[in-house]
Symmetry: C2
Subunit: 459 residues, 2 copies
């Protein structure tokens, strides 16, 4: 078996996907506003040889439940939510190897300043930055940014495709290798002949500029995506180097992986790409009994209203209109169906109620939660890899940083002993660490095609 | 005499305003891409009890000289230029008191995500963030962001005024004091009745959202502005808490300060506000002779082409069209006139040439450069404060971090001995440290007027 990869999954907010667990006496998530929370977490994850910290984000509030943000506010359900990019430089200064997968929506910022921000982060982290490409799912974000609502789903992906073309050109085409001369004798820092103006005049964006940053170690940040729909998988199979899947069902994860890899192969992508991480929450202790007791303790702090608030935002269904004991199968909505299907696959005979859905999602969101001592957890991870073909896991927390500390202290040593977890980081950038094929986008990746194609002469 | 205040003036690029001095063997500015350069600098400045590090920025290239960016590239004249915001979190983690004055243009980002970014920085720095409000001056920035060119000068300030109204409402009005309950017993993190939706539908921006961040220590970041024109001074007298003036002439600085304070008083602002910092470069050594030798050494590395490239961008004049010995007084342009006037005030009989203008600007830009041993520098600083009414200085570097280290090690102790420089930081936020009147915007400031005016009921 190949080595299992681990990312931590967190967000610049309180209790991320663990609804109500900010009340747990050991939870530190309300300290998200402080640098210390993040630098401590980064050091912990690096001690556990995690590939990266994956940072979620939304630019709006969860106001589908009850039609307003009151329930989200009461429960601190991903509101307040601070900018995740600002966490990276301080964590990078506190670590040497940990990668950072930053969620940034492309719906509300022009590619020109965005590309500069990501290049800056790639410079400051020595090539440890990744970008989780999202188009957003909250209408409240569009209203915040001065739009009536989000663009239609397919249009969002059309915009995203064009956005990617522009940022690839800025990152890969604008500055040729060797442009930085730093020639003290002749007094020439940059060779102007190797810096190319990018002119783009498309349906959604236009730009006439050179990229403002000299090439960073990775140039294009490592690209993550979480595409569940057909259109999303199509996008991911072209652009993503790593894909994040959130489903509680191993069968659904396995199907999604097979489909993604088939699509990527058809596009000429490298065999085995993209790598797939699935969402998982691990509750563990020194023994199975201790883990079970911890799980029962955590569950005492769950907020069902908080969980339904998040579920309403994810699915577009206002769950405040249903009673807790209503069966979910009567609720008609494509999004909820995929969520419900995923749950019911686990126990197909059961008639899931709204309350049971909330109880499931209250810790770990739409992923799976597994409970047990170290050997049992290691068995479950191995089994999941075998059954689904997943390459690793994005680990959400129940209580932070305790959930991550437990994995680092109890699970990682067992996986290492079994020979399925690294004992040291590989040198190099995030992309080199994860793929071992160099710092830059592979030649099979569509983003590489614009390289050295100097279409516009200067000026 | 009141205490003299010092800020450092730097930019996320090579050699900032010291054209060609990246070639100096002791200059480290090409390390701007690394966290170490910035965390070392921040610790140095904090050791010298600087109020803050003022970070300049442009979102375009200097392409007026010769009509293209080739000269800017050859000389690394503020290109490449990375995002300055990303530097702050790492420097904040390395310090406890130093403030950060971040230049962000409001021309290319909607106020909603921008307000979140600044609140995030205010949280992570424990209230040490300032914002230098700029509208930009480079057409190349507008073209990069997909616009044909910049808005007209007056329109830019009209847009800026509306932008300020929106961000004040997000920072000051959306979350009432006391909204964060963190009530473990009742399971209520935030009181929804104290969080207010901001609805704005203006000529340039619209928004319908709550601010995404809980209140930070300062709420509104400390506001800096550099307004030289009449319209700019009008804006600064309303919004700025600190103003940055760049002129080599003490008389011009004195006139600008008197005008600004008169305007601010007429608007009911606190007596003595805004504080004024003027641009200055200090070249010093243990003795006058050592300082003079250092100055002569620095000048050997100056690039006149680099200086003219920056001057062309600042004034809009393409200096490549003139010979080095052409007298500047024949060049007709309002912007160049104010620059030339400022210089010629220093030596009114002289017929300044293009070369002399470039030589003047090559170290320290449009500010003054003073050269001497510690006592002489202290005398010159005192004299300048007396003659102009300035509150302090934004210190540019010739060679970095050497120029800053020289001030910390040689000048600060002399000022302290004279009783005109602090011996310790005051506790609290940047605003409290600088003004001593609390963490929040004063009640005399227009940004405070939206407080607790809950115009929109939730939902």
């Amino acid at each position: 078996m190949a080595e299992i990869r681990l990312n931590a999954f967190d967000m610049n907010c309180v209790s991320h996907q663990a609804s109500g667990l900010w009340r747990h006496p050991r939870d530190r998530s309300a300290a998200y506003r402080t640098l210390g929370y993040w630098t401590d977490l980064a050091r912990l994850l690096e001690r556990g040889l995690f590939d990266g910290l994956f940072l979620a984000d939304v630019l709006g509030v969860y106001d589908v439940y009850g039609g307003d943000p009151r329930a989200a506010l009461r429960n601190a359900a991903q509101v307040p939510v601070n900018d995740p990019a600002m966490l990276v430089p301080a964590m990078a200064a506190a670590t040497a190897h940990l990668g950072f997968g930053l969620t940034c929506t492309l719906s509300y910022e022009h590619p020109y300043p965005f590309a500069r921000r990501m290049s800056t982060l790639d410079h400051l982290t020595d090539g440890r930055i990744g970008w989780n490409i999202v188009t957003g799912y909250l209408n409240s974000a569009a209203k915040g940014a001065g739009k009536g609502g989000q663009a239609a789903y397919d249009t969002r992906y059309e915009i995203a495709d064009e956005y990617m073309q522009v940022v690839y050109r800025l990152w890969e085409e604008s500055w040729q290798d060797g442009a930085i001369l730093r020639d003290v004798e002749r007094g020439i820092f940059i060779d102007p002949d190797r810096v190319h103006r990018i002119v783009h005049d498309g349906a959604h964006f236009s730009l006439d500029a050179i990229h403002l940053c000299e090439p960073s170690a990775q140039r294009t940040p490592m690209l993550y995506q979480a595409g569940a729909s057909t259109r999303g998988r199509d996008f991911a199979s072209r652009h993503a180097e790593c894909v994040f899947l959130a489903s509680p069902s191993a069968d659904i994860v396995a199907g999604g992986i097979a489909d993604l890899r088939r699509r990527a192969r058809a596009l000429g992508r490298h065999d085995g790409d993209p790598l797939i991480f699935s969402l998982l929450t691990i509750v563990t202790g020194r023994t199975d009994a201790e883990a079970q007791a911890k799980w029962e303790d955590y569950r005492r702090y769950v907020s069902l209203e908080g969980a339904l608030t998040l579920l309403s935002g994810w699915t577009g269904i206002d769950f405040s209109r249903y009673a807790p004991d209503d069966p979910v199968r009567h609720i008609r909505n494509d999004a909820i169906h995929s969520a419900v299907d995923a749950l019911t696959v686990q126990d197909p005979k059961k008639a899931w109620t709204v309350r049971e859905l909330a109880e499931h999602a209250a810790i770990g969101g739409m992923g799976t939660t597994i409970v047990g001592g170290p050997e049992r957890i290691a068995d479950l991870l191995e089994d999941r890899v075998v059954r689904t073909g997943v390459d690793g896991f994005n680990l959400a927390y129940a209580v932070t940083p305790e959930s991550f500390g437990d994995v680092v202290d109890l699970i990682v040593p067992v996986l290492q002993r079994r020979g399925i977890y690294k004992r040291a980081y590989r040198p190099g950038t995030l992309r080199e660490k994860v793929f071992g094929r160099g710092d830059r986008l592979g030649n099979d990746h569509p983003g590489s095609r614009v390289r050295c194609r100097a279409t516009e002469e200067m000026p």
